[in-house]
């Protein structure tokens, strides 16, 4: 008997069907071996596929929404799925079948359905019951953050010691440059050797 788990957000629901990995001593309600998944968006055709298609589709939605919010060109293209913006409110999704002679499935969804879909994927990602290769597109900390917050102190500690060392070296050696007078030295030599 297979386990079924439903993630629901307003107009979208995502159903995950699969079995626990008994060889890993998992509980009966766990799903680690996904056999099927179904994504239902109200008023749109059912989307279902193999387990290997689920993570790339989730990543496509995450990357696309990231581009959309960051004011970059909202366009995602891959062998499996294309997503592009028709306008500010409507998104065009093309799902390509891996089977030959099967026409691609074209869907147009609005911002509300897009956010519902991504929230369903978030629920799946955060679920302790389903074990799936977690998508971490949103968890990538921007470079600015990494320098700005986390490593501010570390960066300071890294740069300051060599900087102080170089400054001290310059100051120390500069005193020798000022104390040494080559003209005076020459005069001294002339006094010792009057010839």
């Amino acid at each position: 008997m297979q386990n079924k788990l439903l993630f629901h957000q307003s107009s979208v629901s995502l159903e995950i069907i699969g079995l626990p990995d008994y060889s890993n001593n998992e509980n009966d309600d766990q799903i680690s071996i996904i056999s099927q998944w179904k994504l239902t968006i109200i008023d749109k055709p059912l989307i279902e596929g193999k387990v290997e298609h689920l993570v790339p589709i989730m990543n496509a939605f995450y990357i696309y929404s990231n581009l959309l919010i960051k004011n970059e060109i909202p366009l995602y293209e891959s062998k499996l799925i294309d997503i592009k913006a028709d306008n500010l409110h409507i998104h065009n999704i093309v799902l390509k079948s891996s089977k030959p002679n099967v026409k691609p499935l074209i869907l147009k969804i609005g911002n509300s359905s897009l956010s519902d879909t991504i929230n369903c994927f978030d629920q799946l990602n955060e679920s302790p019951i389903v074990r799936i290769k977690k998508t971490g597109v949103f968890n990538i900390v921007p470079k600015k953050v990494r320098i700005g917050f986390n490593n501010k102190v570390k960066l300071f500690n890294l740069i300051m010691p060599p900087f102080i060392a170089i400054c001290s070296l310059i100051l120390f050696s500069s005193t020798f440059i000022y104390f040494y007078n080559p003209v005076e030295d020459k005069e001294k030599n002339e006094l010792i050797n009057p010839e």
């Binding site: 307003s10 919010i69 609005g110 911002n111 956010s115 629920q123 990602n125 955060e126």
Partner: protein
């Protein structure tokens, strides 16, 4: 401002949520929240205070919690804009109140504020802000919103 446009009692909700999230150490009263809001250079009452990292984090946590709580409304506003012929009332009401709040609280001499008041130009700003809030309602919404804001 978007959240306050949806929730008419925004500042009270902000304060109630800060209590519920045990953020009293960082945001002990409404005045602290008000002072933090005044860091926005677009506001009439702009005062430059350096926001501390824990205050920044607290504001993000409250925003995420409030977005989660207001998600049905955020979604409805987004949906109403998708098909204006069928359901334009929600969008028109929201936009009207947003502009009223901007006029009441923001510095109208600023070019950026003028852009916000221009109905032809503010659609994109409002939609992207609503979409950002709607994508940050999960348990990891805090990290998502923080990344969005810092990468902005």
């Amino acid at each position: 401002m978007i959240l306050e446009t949806i929730d008419l009692n925004g500042i009270q909700s902000f304060y109630a949520l800060s209590n519920r999230l045990n953020l009293n150490d960082v945001l002990p009263n409404k005045v602290t929240i008000w002072k933090l809001r005044n860091n926005n250079p677009l506001r009439k009452s702009f005062v430059k205070n350096n926001i501390k990292l824990n205050e920044f984090d607290a504001l993000i946590k409250i925003t995420v919690e409030m977005s989660r709580y207001l998600y049905p409304y955020i979604r409805e506003i987004l949906k109403s804009k998708e098909d204006l012929k069928e359901n334009s009332v929600t969008w028109i009401d929201f936009n009207k109140r947003f502009i009223e709040l901007i006029k009441e609280r923001f510095n109208l001499d600023s070019m950026r504020v003028k852009k916000l008041l221009n109905q032809a130009e503010n659609d994109e700003i409002i939609i992207k802000s609503l979409l950002t809030l709607s994508l940050c309602i999960s348990n990891k919404g805090y990290q998502k919103l923080k990344n969005f804001l810092i990468d902005f």
